[in-house]
């Protein structure tokens, strides 16, 4: 009996050590540490890893590896994927994976319940696996060290049940001490990390013992002469299954490390710093490598030394067979830790989901329970969770009894395939905004049903728990509904078969329905809170506007009811601290406080339930949930409408600014116009003044002598002509500027134009004694232009030259030059020239250059502006080059139309000539 008591004492000490570690963890808050975080992730390595990997290696060689390759691959993505999930969880105060998915799709209670049920159904077999591992390892140890278990004390007779009940107690003590589940369970995390160290050490110890104690190293263990034919084949890759199976298994374990409820709990909910992920991304794969290092050696040693023993427990039976009781005890404790770690985290997680996402929403909708009006809900929540833990473990025990002897690994894979169904809704939910509630529910449901039909159902038949025959023949003999060969598919591995059908259906249904149906407003809001979590983390407290404003006191009572007095006070203080304000019970609660309370409440009862509670309180139960949602949708419509209004008013402002600029421009143009009119008026009145004055003088003074009479009549005639010219020019200019001028296009020889223009004014040069020279090339390319207009320009330039040249001393030179692309005419005089500052001014209307000594020049002041308009109309330019005192040269340049190139000779014709 001595050995028996040692085993029991060690088991009890293990349990106590866990409590001790947890206690230290709670007090010292050691869980905020990247190493502890990484080690706690190793809750992935359960008794299935500890015992089952060796069992799997004994039957399929390296076939155990994909389960660890998947997580290794995912670990690389931790800083991307897991960080996003962590941020979303923190921002939205999410309490579980069910809450996560439900929150994403508009806080759907239906979805929360569905995910919870799937998680429970998927996890129970896995927990039963742990029960089995603990019970069997205890039996193996006991029978080897003490004797047959049936002759042992009564309480050990039903090992499985005892283990289940003890674990339930353990989990309850560990995980259900406060109602607020977003409070980090630092004790639990530290205990899990401690277990991870211990199980790794135990496994490495037995591995080293087997490899270097029983053999002389790896070379000796795998020496060809030691291996029989079967064992040699095990070392081939073919033994490990097809490539397709490998791929799917790797994928499956990738999903598992992300979506197993307990992994989600540890890696996402218990994460205290996103920075820890950067360490975990390499340290966690390292852990997986170490714990798998000795799997093959132990399996082969077992196959060689104990061909008849259960391969799943070689780890234990090898040391026992060699009388290493101490080592066996170490292994037993390692296995115990591996199993308890998983069971505690899984049951605590599932119990939270069951209470928050399944039971509480139902109770809240059941008015007779009056749950929403109970003074203190905290004890009720805890009771529900404790009962849930007990129920889960009893269910697992039931499965353990029914399942009998099925390999550890296959049960584990069934669980993996169940949680893989969360992938489309969850991954789609954080990366694809269009994914909606209908798609998520239908996808999850279809995937789950196919999974249930193709994996656990036939496995129950296999276990003999049910006597069904449809696995082989299909239900009612329908061939294509056979669970292992849906639609006649020929995938050999049942897990792969199930996974392909369920996940492909799930994904297609999710995407298709999401595309075909629309989101509600709340879903839409949630989808961007999730997908854009990093962009939106700053603006957490988006205002939710409720139908009625609650008082601070109402919210206080509500928190008190669900969380207890202490947590309620803390939550309100937290808000006061964050907003730097103080709350009075009678005050109306600001919307941000309502949101805060909802979030705090969400951490205790899940976001879907919290939403219903707040809504029902605010509306005094007179409003149904649907009405609240309608209200919200209305509000958000109004919000969007007002956003649109804001947008419009911004656009309006922009338009106004543009209009203001345009108006300024118009004013400017108007000013220019009125300046022009004023100028024209002045220029018209000036000759009119002379005409009127001399007309009156002539009519009132009949005694004027002939010479004077002639002089005055001459002035009248001259001024009348000036007036006519002016009117014509003004009309001409306004026609050109408004684009109404008629242009008569023809092929124009510029030499002819220059000669003709010169001929017209030649007499004026002669009269004034101005010397002229005409420098023209023999021929120039023709222009396409209005000939008369070009003559008009030439006449203007020539008459300007005459005007500004001194009598007798004047010299005017007219030249025409041609380049490849342009023809240039210049008219140079030796008059007074033009100041540089006036060079542009003279082309503006009515800007004549007046010379102090010379008096006002004759002319309308419109000649050069008109000339410039004409030249520019034909794509050319008109300018002046001058220096005061050195004369002025007016030049205009016109582009030559490119002639059609002469047709080239056809080379063939050239040859034939």
């Amino acid at each position: 009996m001595g050995a028996g008591w040692i085993i029991i004492t060690v088991t009890v000490l293990c349990a106590l050590s866990l409590f001790a570690v947890a206690y230290i963890g709670e007090r010292r808050n050691l869980s905020n540490n990247a190493l502890v975080y990484t080690l706690s992730l190793a809750v992935f390595c359960t008794a299935w890893t500890f015992y089952g990997s060796v069992g799997r290696a004994a039957t399929s060689g390296i076939g155990f590896l994909p389960i660890y390759l998947g997580p290794t691959l995912v670990a690389i993505l931790f800083p991307l994927l897991l960080r996003k999930m962590i941020r979303i969880t923190k921002v939205n105060r999410i309490t579980s994976i069910a809450d996560f998915i439900a929150s994403r799709y508009g806080k759907s209670t239906l979805l929360a319940g569905l995910v919870t049920i799937m998680a429970v159904v998927g996890t129970v077999p896995y927990i039963s696996l742990q029960l089995k591992a603990i019970a069997t390892s205890f039996e193996v140890l006991w029978e080897s060290a003490v004797g047959p278990i049936s002759s042992s004390p009564n309480f050990l007779a039903n090992t499985g049940l005892v283990v289940a009940l003890l674990l339930a107690l353990f989990a309850i003590l560990f995980g259900t001490r406060h109602a607020d589940v977003t409070e980090h369970n630092s004790g639990l995390v530290l205990a899990i990390a401690f277990e991870a160290v211990f199980k790794l050490a135990a496994f490495l110890a037995v591995g080293l013992y087997v490899t270097f104690g029983l053999y002389e190293g790896f070379g000796d263990l795998f020496a060809p002469e030691r291996l029989n034919l079967d064992q040699q084949q095990l070392l081939q890759f073919e033994a490990a299954g097809s490539y397709g199976d490998w791929g799917w298994l790797i994928f499956l374990s990738m999903m598992a490390i992300l979506f197993l409820p307990r992994q989600f709990q540890i890696s996402v909910l218990e994460n205290t710093s996103e920075r820890h992920l950067f360490k975990a991304m390499w340290a966690f794969p390292l852990y997986l490598l170490l714990i798998n290092l000795f799997v093959l050696p132990i399996a082969f040693a077992g196959l060689q030394q104990q061909p008849t023993a259960d391969a799943d427990f070689y780890v234990l039976s090898l040391p026992l067979a060699n009388d290493q009781l101490g080592l066996a005890l170490l292994v037993y404790v390692g296995g115990l830790f591996a199993a308890t770690g998983m069971v505690i985290v899984a049951t605590v997680t599932l119990s939270t989901m069951i209470s928050n996402d399944l039971i509480v929403p139902i109770l809240l909708r059941w008015p007779r329970m009056g749950l929403a009006n109970r003074p203190n809900l905290s004890p009720i929540l805890l009771s529900i969770r404790r009962l849930a833990i007990l129920a889960i473990l009893l269910l697992a025990y039931g499965y353990y009894v029914a399942a009998g002897r099925v390999s550890l690994v296959s049960i584990g894979l069934i669980s993996f395939a169940a949680v893989a169904q969360f992938a489309p809704a969850l991954l789609g939910g954080i990366y694809w905004k269009r994914g909606n509630r209908l798609g998520a529910i239908a996808g999850l449901l279809s995937g789950f049903l196919i999974w249930a039909y193709t994996l656990p159902l036939p496995s129950l038949e296999q276990l003999g728990g049910l006597s069904l025959t449809f696995t082989a023949a299909g239900p009612f003999g329908i061939d294509w509904l056979r669970p292992y060969a849906l639609f006649g598919s020929t995938i050999e591995n049942p897990v792969t078969h199930s996974l392909v059908w369920s996940l492909v259906t799930n994904t297609l249904v999710y995407i298709t329905l999401s595309l075909l149906s629309t989101q509600t407003i709340r879903e839409h809001a949630q989808s961007s809170r999730f997908v854009d979590v990093f962009e939106r983390s700053e603006e957490l407290d988006q205002l939710m506007i409720w139908g009625q404003t609650p008082t601070v006191g109402m919210l206080q009572r509500l928190l008190h009811r669900f969380l207890g007095e202490r947590r309620a006070e803390t939550a309100l203080k937290e808000w006061e601290g964050a907003t730097d304000s103080s709350l009075q019970a009678v005050d109306d609660a600001p919307p941000s406080l309502v949101n805060h309370v909802e979030k705090v409440l969400a951490s205790a009862i899940g976001s879907a339930s919290a939403h219903v509670v707040i809504a029902s309180m605010l509306t005094e139960a007179s409003l149904t949930m649907d009405e609240v949602i309608n209200l919200l949708e209305e509000t958000s419509k109004v919000y969007r409408y007002s956003q649109r209004l804001e947008q419009q008013s911004r656009e309006l402002e922009k338009r106004t600014a543009e209009l203001r600029v345009a108006n300024e421009r118009l004013k400017e143009l108007d000013q220019m116009k009125s300046d022009f009119v004023s100028h024209v008026t002045h220029e018209l009145r000036t000759p009119l003044t002379s005409i009127r004055a001399f007309s009156e003088i002539l009519s009132e003074n009949g005694d004027l002598d002939l010479a004077q009479r002639r002089e005055f009549l001459g002035i009248i005639r001259g001024e009348s002509e000036r007036l006519t010219r002016l009117i014509n020019n003004v009309l001409d200019l306004s026609k050109i500027e408004s684009g109404n001028a008629e242009w008569l296009l023809s092929d124009v020889d510029l030499i002819e134009v220059v000669k003709e223009s010169f001929a017209l004014v030649e007499q004026l040069f002669v009269d004034k004694g101005i010397k002229t020279e005409l420098l023209l090339p023999p021929a120039v390319p023709t222009l396409r232009a209005d000939r008369d207009r070009l003559v008009q320009v030439m006449l203007n330039l020539l008459s300007n030259a005459i005007k500004f040249c001194d009598e007798e001393k004047g010299r005017v030179s007219i030249t025409l030059t041609a380049t490849i692309n342009t023809l240039t005419v210049s008219v140079g005089d030796n008059g007074p020239g033009i100041d540089e500052k006036d060079a542009d001014l003279i082309f503006a209307e009515f800007q004549q250059v007046r010379n102090v000594t010379r008096g006002k020049p004759q002319g309308t002041g419109l000649g050069l502006p008109i000339s410039r308009h004409i030249i520019e109309h034909f794509g050319g330019r008109l300018w002046v080059e001058s220096e005061p005192g050195q004369g002025a040269t007016f030049k205009f340049e016109l582009p030559v139309l490119r002639e059609q190139p002469p047709p080239e000779l056809n080379p063939l014709q050239a040859w034939s000539v």
């Binding site: 003044t689 004055a693 002035i715 008096g855 006002k856």
Partner: protein, 121 residues
């Protein structure tokens, strides 16, 4: 009663017509074509009345009038302008012109206006 009249205008024909009218009325006439020349001439002669065109290059009629008044000279000034806007008339009178005549003017009006101003003294 023979008076001295100064005509300042950059339009030679208008100067001719005004000179004819003033000489016929029995006055002595001097004429210049721009404001600068007028100010220069005023340093040596003291006319009884100035017929002053407003729109002239560089030194315009306003400037000439302003300078004359700034020197404390009370000489009669009749402004002549082809623009004839109300604001311009106001401005001319404000800076010290005694009368304002819009071009084209009636010869009788100019003669009457000159007579009236000269007999006021």
């Amino acid at each position: 009663m023979k008076k001295q009249i100064l005509i300042v205008d950059d339009e030679p024909h208008i100067v001719t017509s005004l000179r004819f009218l003033m000489e016929k009325a029995g006055h002595e006439v001097a004429a210049v074509g721009n404001g600068a020349n007028a100010l220069e001439l005023l340093e040596t002669i003291r006319p009884d009345l100035i017929l002053l065109d407003l729109m002239m290059p560089k030194v315009d009629g306003f400037e000439v009038c302003r300078r004359i008044r700034a020197d404390g000279d009370e000489v009669k000034i009749i402004m002549l302008s082809a623009r004839g806007q109300e604001t311009e008339i106001q401005q001319a009178l404000a800076i010290g012109a005694d009368a304002y005549i819009t071009k084209p003017f009636s010869t009788a009006e100019v003669v009457a206006q000159v007579d009236q101003l000269l007999t006021d003294e």
